[in-house]
Each structure stands twice: as C-alpha cells, then as structure tokens.
C-alpha cells in the first residue's frame, strides 16, 4: 500500500492503517537512523524524518494534511525508537557487564549515556503532559523527537509560528518542572 494511501486512511480513523503506518515508519526511520550513524557524528532527527518522507512518498504531490499527519506519526515513531533504544541499552549494560574499552569514546557519548535516565524521565513527563494537553505533547514529539523546526510545524499545521513558540515555551517549562528533582 502506498504511504499516502496509508496516511489518508489513518487520518480518517482507520486503526489498522494507523498501526501499519506506524510499523512502516518505525522500520524505515530506524534503518535510516542506523545508516546515518555510520556516516556523520551529529544526527539530525529532522533530516531522518524528511528523508523517510521523500523515500516513502516519492516525489508525487501530497496534500498538506497528509504531510502534517505524517509528521505527527513520524514524531511518535521517533519517540518510540528512542525510548526502545534507551531501554535496550540499559538492559545491555545491566546484563552485559563492562562496556568494551574504547580508545576514543566521545564525551558526547558519555554525556548521552548519562542522559538515558533523563530520556526516561522525559518520556514519563510527556505522558503526564499528554494527560492535560495532548496537543502540547504532540508538539513536543514533533519538535524534540522528530527534530522539526517550529516554522515547519507551523507550515504543516497551518498555525502561526509565534503561537507555536508560546506553546513550546509552556511545554518546555512543564516538562522541566516535572523532571526537576523534588
């Protein structure tokens, strides 16, 4: 099934199409993420999401709504990929003993490992945010997990960037408060 078709059906509420779309995107994005890792050091989630879109949707004309829906699903997919990975790595570390000695672990990696806990905390905070404001949680998914710029989200959702900026600031404050040590 064409991705645009899937998106269309998912948008109309087709639960199976929605599930299928998620799975397709999950595989594709995870593959792209892994592929990109072999090349550049700094990954940009946004380019992954865009790349997947180009690949899946081809170069055919797409309606704006489809694109918007794609972004929100892709953002959720990315969130899932990240959290799966963090959990898998935690399990690996707990079960796998010491990590192999590396001549050159970048500080970024060290920092990243220290952030696993924060990522899990963020995920939990996001669940709480979704409970009071689902749109705000979706925005965080698009901004943080899919790495989209606010201007792109504004385009996709046909909203003003300044109001998105306010939303983002509010969401950020909420999550930060939730994650701050008591």
């Amino acid at each position: 099934m064409e991705i645009t078709e899937l998106i269309g059906k998912a948008r109309e509420g087709d639960a199976r199409a929605s599930e299928h779309l998620f799975a397709v995107l999950y595989d594709e994005l995870r593959r792209l993420a892994a592929g990109q890792l072999r090349g550049a050091e700094v990954m940009r989630a946004t380019s992954l999401v865009h790349e997947a879109w180009l690949k899946l949707a081809g170069h055919g004309a797409v309606v704006v709504n489809d694109r918007s829906h794609y972004f929100s699903v892709a953002a959720r997919v990315m969130r899932q990929i990240v959290i799966d990975h963090v959990r898998a790595r935690g399990a690996l570390r707990r079960g796998g003993g010491a990590a192999p000695a590396s001549l050159d672990t970048t500080a970024l990696q060290v920092a990243a490992e220290e952030r696993d806990e924060s990522l899990l905390a963020l995920d939990a905070a996001l669940v709480r945010l979704a409970a009071v404001d689902a749109d705000l949680a979706a925005l965080v998914e698009m901004r943080f997990y899919a790495g989209l710029e606010l201007s792109e989200i504004a385009d996709a959702q046909q909203r003003s960037e300044s109001s998105l900026k306010r939303d983002w600031r509010r969401a950020r404050a909420f999550l930060q408060r939730e994650m701050m040590p008591a």
């Binding site: 072999r38 090349g39 550049a40 990975h85 790595r89 050159d104 970048t106 970024l108 990243a112 404050a173």
Partner: protein, 970 residues
C-alpha cells in the same frame, strides 16, 4: 474537559501572560495573583522558574542525545585487511571520529605493532588528507615520553583517511586513576606530567585542541601518554569556523574551551583550559559545568556559563561516588577539604573564560601543580600576602614555631611578624621570578608561533578572500610594528623578537628591512643585556649578515669581523652562528681576490659547524657550499665537486632529495662540470635542479629562470639548439618582469643561440635588448659594453655595417673610460677586424686581426680555440689582400690552426676546421693547386654544414666551389 485539563488551561493562560514580562512586572503580577488564587500562583511560579533554567536535553533533539543508536553497528573492515603498509589485526575500539585497529606492518619492513585509526566517512576527506600530508612531518617530529608518536597516514583503498601511531596498551587517565584508587597527590603528579607533554608540543608550535580523558591514556608502565596531537586541527573545516556543526562535530562539546565553541582564535591557552577540565574530572569525576547539547544553545550560553569549584563538586558527591574514585576510606568532606584552596584556584585559573587570564602556558600550570605538591606558594595566588605567610607557616611549622619563639624573646611580636613576612615574600618573589622568566621564554615562542600561524592563515584562500591578502613580508612588518607597540616596556623581549623577525625578513628576501630591524635589535640588546653579552654578540652577527645581504659589503666586512670577535668572547658555544659569520666573511674575501684568507675562513667555519651540527644539516650543507665556491674559484674543480656533492648528500639524507636546497647545489655541481666540459653530466645536474625547482617553487619563480639560463647555454654548447631555444625563451619570460642582470644575461644567451642558428636578425635584436637591459641594471659596466661588442659582431653578420661601426665606436670609447680589461680590448679589436674585413678595408683588418691574435696568444697560449679562430681570421684577411707575399704567412697560420684542431671532434672545432679549409682552398687556388683547392673545399662544405650559425661561411664556400666548377647542393 476534565478538571485537571481545565486547571491546566488556567495555569497556561497565566503563564503565557507572565512569562513575557520583565522581572519586576512579573513579580508584581505574581503577587497580585497570589491574592486571588494562591494555588494557581504557586503553580505558575514553579513553571516560571522551570522556564528560566537550562534544559539541555530538550533544547537539542532526541537523536543528539543518542549518537550510539546501534551499539552493535560494525563497518565492513575485517581483521587481515590491508591498509597502506599495515595489516589490521584486531579492533581496539570505536569513537566519534572513527575506528581504531591494532595493526602491524605488512610490508615486511620491520616488526612493528601500531594503532591505526581509520576515520569515518562523511568527513571532508580530501581536505583532511591534504592537511594531513602537510602536517604529517611536524606531527611526526613530536617526540616526547608522554606523547604518543605519530608514524604515518594516508588514504585507504576505499578513500578514507587513516593515521598510524604507537599502540598504547592501557586505559584512559581518569578510568585508570579510579581503578587504582590513586590519592590526590598522585593524580596531580600525573596531570603535571601530561601538562609537560603539552608544553613540549607547544614549543614545537603544535596545539592539541582536543584534550579529553580518552586522549590521555596511561600505559602499562603507569606513564601517561597523550594521543592525537594536532589531529583535531586536521579535521576542522577549511574556513576554521569551529562553531559550525561540521566543526564542532570533531570536537567534544563538553571539553571544548569557550573560544572553540565561539569560533574565536585558538592557541596554547585552549589546551590549558582542557587541562583544567581534565584535572577537575580526574579529581572529582565530574566536569565543573553543565553544557547544552545543541551547538546553537552552547554558543549562546558558554560566554557566561557558571563553573563550579572542584571542592564544591566534591562536597556534593555521594558516598558511593567518592568510593568509586578514591576507595571507601575517603569521604566527600575530606576530599572537599583537600581540594579547597590552592587546587580549586589552580583549576579556576586554568578555566578562565578569557584565554589571556588563564595560565599563559601549560608549563606554568605544571609549575603551579608542582609547587602545590611541594607545599610552596602557587603563582596563581602570588598576590596574597596573608596567603603566603599561612603557606609558609604550614610548611615550616616546626621551624617557624622555634623561630617565632626566639624572635619573640629577642624582638617582640612585631619584629617576628616582619621577619616572617619578609622571608615569605622572598620565597614568593623567587617563585614569581622563575615564573616570569619561564613565561617570558614561552611568551616569545607563543608570539613567534602566533606569527607563523598568521602566515599560514593568510595562505588559506577563504581568509585571503575575506581580508586583503598580505605578503609574508608585509606580515612580518606588521609583526614588528606590533612588537614595538606592545613590548616597548619590555626591552629584552622586544629585542629578542626583533631579532627573530629581522632574521625572518632576511629569509623572505627583504635585506634592507632586515638590516634596519636587526640594527635596532642590536642597539636594544646592547642597552638591556650589555655590550659584551652573548645576546648582543649574536644579534650583531645577524645584523652584519643582513648588511651583507643588503649588498653593502664595505659596511658588512668590519661588522662581520667585530661579530666574530664578540662571539668568540661572549658566546663561544654558539658554533653555528660563528660558522655562519665566518662563512660570509669568506665570500667577501673570495670576491676581493684573497683566496687564501677565504679558504682558511671557509674551512674553519666548516669545522665549527661539523662540531655543532644539530642534526638538521641545513647549516652544514651551507658551509660546505661556501667552501665549494672557494675551491671552484681557485680552479680546484674536483675538490669543489666533492664539497658540493657532500652537501647534496646531507640535504638528501636529512631533508629528502627533493628539498629546494638540493636544487641550488645541483646547479653548483653542474656549473663545475660545465667548466670541466663534462657537458652530458652537467646537463643531468641542471635538469635535476630544474625538476626540483618546478616541484617546490611557484611557477615562474626567479630561481627557475636562473637555472634555465644555465641549462639553455649548455644545451646550445651541446648543439641541442631547439631545446636551448625553449629553455632560454622560458627564462626570458620568467625574468622579464624584474629586468634584472639575469634577464639581460638570458637575452644575451638567446642572441648567441640565434647567431648559432643563423638567425642574425633575431641575434641583432636580442643583443640590442640585452645591451639595454645591462645598461639599465649595471650602468656603464663591462657587461654592458661587452654585450655592445657582441651586438656589433652580430650586426656585421647581418651585413648592417654602418650600425656595427657606430656601436663598436661607442663601445670602444666607453671601454677606454673604464679600468683596462685585456679581454674586452682584444674582443673589440677582433670585432674591428671583422668589420673592416667586411667593409673591404683589408689592410686595416689585417692590422687589427694581427693585434688580436698576438693578444690572445699572450693571454691563452697557442692551443686555445679562440687563438685558432684568430689565426684563421687573420689568414682570411691576408688572403683577401690578394698579395702573393702574404700567402706564406697565411699558410703558416692555417697550418698551425689545423695542427691544433685536427684531433678535436667538438662542433666548434670542426666548424673552425671548415673555415680553415675554406681559406686553405683559396690559398691553393691562388697558387694554382686546383685539385688541392677542390679537395679542401669539398671537406670545408661538409664541416660548415654542421652548424647553422656558419651559414655565411657556408655561402662563401659554396660560391667558391661553384667558381671551381664544383656542383653544390643548395
């Protein structure tokens, strides 16, 4: 909408309204809100606080927090794979830049196990490789017990850059220290050793730029080893903007100094910063700052990022954290106490935001760490008198107690306090003085380094496009202006730097500026260091060299002698400098014709340099070349060749066979071989010189032109006329812009070539141009007027006899005004003879040619080629007189010439033989020996056809042959 969501909507609205306000207005509105709805106000307040704090995680994107998404990811290289001369053995690890392999040499050269780092794809491979090749030699020269040696590098078959270094079987410094649960003192000692290594590299003008725990390993013997020196620079994008994504991706943001993040200039202080971070992490297992994950955010915040004290970090460590670092016997409070005070201050000094406020050098940091270890006052706190006294008392607790008791009994409390303070301050002053002198030395090397970096910066095309390009010479002049501006108060340092910069000016071929700079440096040194100091003597030597280079030989000579005297008295250990000065003086003696003095000096200079030889060999080669020149001028060609060839061997062995210096020596060797008439060997040497020059010098460089002149002239002598034409034409093109003496020389050689090819029009033109060029450069010199004579000679060839006569007259009267020169006089006489012969004024021609022959005989003896030419010429005029009584003299002359030339096979000799045969044919014809005349003329035609330059004689011979009824081919 449920209650919680409704509540959140109210909170959100209030937050949105308040967050935009300034702090005062915000506080007022919050107070108002508290009156209306305290719970709501409280919730908004916590949100506002959260808004004001840093959320490094959220401000990045998720994947940045997860660079290792595929921990099991492996690329396609496998053990056994071959890269360059190395075979991969075992994978050691993987990092941000690439994969590290244990490897061994695969070319059977010698047993060697190394670490080979294969960079990842996606980096700017070509730029990296280019920079790597440029810097490889510098990096490979870093030889220090605490630096991991770089061996090699290149590009793998699949196009990825790699480099090869010593394999260190160990673990990162921080991990190792924790594993061994080392105490604070041992950790500080380790870091001081690392700082030593960094200081050493700085002295070699290499900045690490990426010091972090994974780059400082501890080997099996417990010695720290710093990896990847200078590598970060290779991986940076060409425009040097480190704060772009591409730039920072090769850095580790957590360990980068603020100037690296902000794209400001990077220097030795950058490494000092990293050493500070390393020390902090080594001591407390934490970095003193928290940093944003995204580059953009980091750039905004790093300027005023808070840096925590190491002791404060230590105080907050959990029991388990401390135990993991130091073992369970140490607790956080004790650790915090040990780090508080001096170590905190040392770290804070290294971590100053402004590079200029950090320790000036890694050596200064190492110095303070060792002072701390010895319980002595650290320089970072040298301004606190109370501190010094406290430190002093702590160290001499017993002694002070006793001293104080004695002093109290003798002098009372005040005296004791003064006494104590005086000793403490003397101690601090000593430390201060040591620091000042060390820092001054390092400041000097830092300035020189910055200067050199600036030079390189200008070569960067982006910088060049951005700023107006400056030549190295201009840069040096700016450097001098800066030294004068900034260091006017520090005369000693100013003098040192002026000497360095003056010598660089000499190197970039600005002798007049160099002379002025070095003169000032000398005067300064005489004032600050004393007239008889070693520094003044050395600077005088440099100044004298510059005066000589500026071609003021008369002034240079006494200065050089004075420099030798002063160096022998004040700096007898500066052998290289002394040798250099003696060598220059040798050249002056040589030009003055005092060959014995010249040789004595050149030999002595060489002996000195052989004793001093620093292993680089440049100076030794230069001393050998000077001796070679002296030997060459003395006509001892084989000895000269031996000297030049030894110099060549040294340069080849130490700088590589293609070093630019080797080119000059090849030219020297070729010059000697040419004089010895070993033409084919000389040709090989000139071509070698040219090959090197074309590779090492920019296209169109003057030296290439100068070598081409010599090569072209040799090719003409070897009858490779087309090749000669190419060489000399290129030489003229290269040298034309400067209109130098060499340019005039090239024109003259090209004219001589044109004449040899029978192109008399071109010959006339080129001699004319050469004459003008010589006159413009050298004025009324011998060169100018000898060229005028050649011009007149060529005008005779071209049949333009009136012009020839005028030019000859001018040359003769000019030469009469100059000190007599026998050769010029004879040459003028010879040209006069030719001209008169061509004009049909045979008696005048006979008279002049006779004078010329007698002069040449006296000068060269009977065997010289010029003498045979003069004999044939005189015979030709004698025969042209058609007077029987003169025939026997002509016959004798031809017989004599023939006898000398008979055994010779070179083209010049054979052409002369042809000319002589033509004349003998005429003689025999005149005496009625027709058969003999025919025989001679047939032979003459054969010889004269060999050289296009003999076209005129050939035409005469053909006309004569036809007169004899012989068929000649046209």
């Amino acid at each position: 909408m449920d209650r919680r969501a409704a509540r959140w909507n109210a909170v959100a609205a209030a937050f949105d309204a308040l967050v935009e306000l300034d702090p005062a207005a915000r506080a007022a509105r919050l107070a108002q809100l508290r009156g209306e709805d305290p719970a709501l106000a409280e919730e908004v307040a916590t949100l506002l606080r959260a808004d004001g704090s840093d959320v490094p995680l959220l401000d990045g994107d998720a994947l940045q927090a997860l660079p290792n998404l595929h921990p099991g990811e492996r690329d396609d290289m496998a053990a056994g794979h071959r890269i360059g001369a190395y075979r991969l053995v075992r994978r050691l690890g993987e990092g941000g830049m690439g994969v590290v392999w244990l490897a061994e040499r695969a070319d059977g050269g010698f047993e060697q196990t190394v670490a080979l780092k294969l960079l990842k794809r996606g980096m700017d491979t070509h730029a990296i490789l280019h920079r790597f090749l440029q810097e490889r030699r510098i990096l490979a020269r870093l030889a220090h017990p605490h630096i991991v040696r770089l061996h090699d590098g290149g590009m793998s078959d699949d196009g990825r850059p790699y480099y090869v270094m010593d394999y260190v079987d160990g673990e990162p410094l921080t991990t190792w220290a924790a594993g061994k649960q080392l105490d604070v003192r041992v950790r500080v000692e380790l870091l001081a050793a690392v700082a030593d290594a960094v200081a050493y590299a700085h002295a070699q003008l290499v900045v690490h730029r990426d010091l972090k725990p994974s780059n400082v390993m501890v080997d099996a013997h417990g010695a720290p080893r710093v990896l990847d020196f200078g590598i970060a620079k290779l991986l940076e994008p060409d425009n040097g903007q480190a704060h772009t994504d591409t730039g920072l991706r090769v850095l580790s943001p957590a360990y980068a100094a603020p100037e690296q993040i902000l794209g400001e200039p990077i220097g030795t202080a950058t490494d000092v910063y990293a050493l500070g971070l390393l020390l902090c992490e080594l001591l407390v297992g934490r970095l003193p700052h928290q940093r944003a994950a995204t580059v953009g955010h980091l750039v905004q915040t790093v300027g005023d990022e808070p840096t925590e004290r190491a002791s404060a970090l230590a105080a907050r460590l959990a029991r388990g954290d401390v135990a993991a670092l130091y073992g369970s016997a140490v607790d956080a409070r004790r650790l915090a106490r040990e780090l508080g005070g001096d170590l905190d201050l040392i770290i804070a000094t290294a971590l100053q935001r402004e590079p200029a406020r950090r320790y000036a050098t890694a050596a200064a940091l190492a110095g303070d760490l060792r002072r701390w270890l010895a319980g002595r006052p650290i320089t970072a706190r040298a301004d606190s008198a109370a501190y010094r006294a406290r430190r002093f008392v702590r160290r001499h607790r017993l002694g002070v107690a006793a001293g104080v008791l004695v002093a109290l009994s003798l002098l009372g409390g005040l005296g004791a306090a003064l006494w104590q303070a005086r000793i403490a301050s003397a101690e601090a002053q000593r430390a201060e003085a040591a620091r000042a002198s060390a820092e001054q030395a390092l400041l000097r090397s830092e300035r020189v380094k910055q200067f050199i970096l600036a030079l390189f910066h200008e070569q960067d095309p982006v910088a060049r496009a951005r700023a107006q390009a400056r030549t190295p010479a201009e840069l040096v002049r700016e450097g001098i202006a800066e030294v004068d501006r900034n260091l006017a108060g520090e005369a000693a340092l100013q003098a040192e730097l002026l000497r360095d910069l003056g010598e660089i000016q000499l190197g970039v071929d600005e002798p007049a500026h160099a002379r002025d700079t070095l003169q000032r440096a000398w005067e300064l040194h005489q004032r600050v260091s004393g007239e008889d100091s070693a520094a003044a003597a050395e600077t005088l030597a440099a100044y004298a060299e510059a005066v000589y280079a500026a071609k003021d030989v008369a002034t240079a000579e006494p200065l050089l002698r004075e420099a030798i005297r002063r160096l022998q008295n004040a700096a007898p250990d500066r052998l290289t400098r002394l040798a250099q000065v003696e060598s220059t003086l040798a050249l002056i003696e040589l030009v003055a014709g005092r060959k014995d003095q010249a040789e004595r000096l050149a030999r002595h200079a060489l002996d000195l340099e052989r004793r001093a030889d620093d292993g680089h060999g440049t100076q030794l080669a230069a001393r050998l070349a000077t001796l070679g020149m002296v030997q060459q001028e003395s006509g001892r060609y084989d000895e000269a060749l031996a000297s030049y060839r030894e110099a060549l061997a040294i340069v080849a062995a130490r700088n590589g066979p293609d070093h630019a210096r080797a080119a000059l020596l090849h030219v020297n060797v070729a010059d000697v071989l040419r004089v010895q008439r070993h033409y084919p060997q000389a040709l090989v040497e000139y071509e070698a010189a040219l090959r090197i020059e074309r590779r090492q010098l920019p296209a169109g460089h003057r030296l290439i032109g100068i070598t081409l002149i010599r090569l072209g002239d040799l090719q003409r002598r070897m009858q490779q006329l087309d090749a000669a034409d190419r060489s000399l034409s290129e030489a003229i093109t290269i040298l034309a812009p400067a209109k130098s003496g060499q340019y005039a020389q090239a024109l003259q050689f090209h004219a001589t070539l044109a004449r040899a090819r029978g192109d008399f029009t071109l010959a006339v033109q080129r001699y004319g141009e050469s004459f003008e060029a010589f006159r413009a450069v050298t004025g009324d010199s011998l060169y100018t007027w000898l060229t005028a004579l050649m011009h007149a000679d060529a005008l005779v060839d071209a049949g333009r006899l009136d012009e020839a006569e005028r030019r000859l007259q001018a040359a003769r009267s000019a030469l009469a005004r100059m000190p007599p020169d026998e050769y010029a006089k004879l040459y003028a006489t010879g040209v006069g003879g030719r001209l008169h012969h061509a004009q049909g004024r045979i008696e005048a021609a006979i008279q002049q040619r006779r004078v010329a022959l007698e002069g040449l005989l006296a000068m060269y003896g009977a065997e010289h080629a010029d003498v045979q030419e003069a004999r044939v010429a005189l015979a030709s005029s004698l025969l042209a007189a058609h007077a029987p009584e003169r025939r026997s003299e002509a016959a004798d002359l031809l017989q004599a010439a023939h006898a000398v030339l008979a055994g010779r096979d070179d083209p010049d000799a054979r052409a002369l033989v042809g000319s002589a045969l033509l004349e003998r044919g005429r003689l025999r014809h005149a005496t009625g020996d027709l058969a003999g005349a025919r025989g001679d003329i047939v032979q003459a035609l054969r010889e004269l056809q060999l050289r296009p330059g003999d076209a005129r004689r050939l035409r005469e011979a053909r006309a004569f042959a036809r007169g004899l009824g012989l068929a000649t081919t046209r």
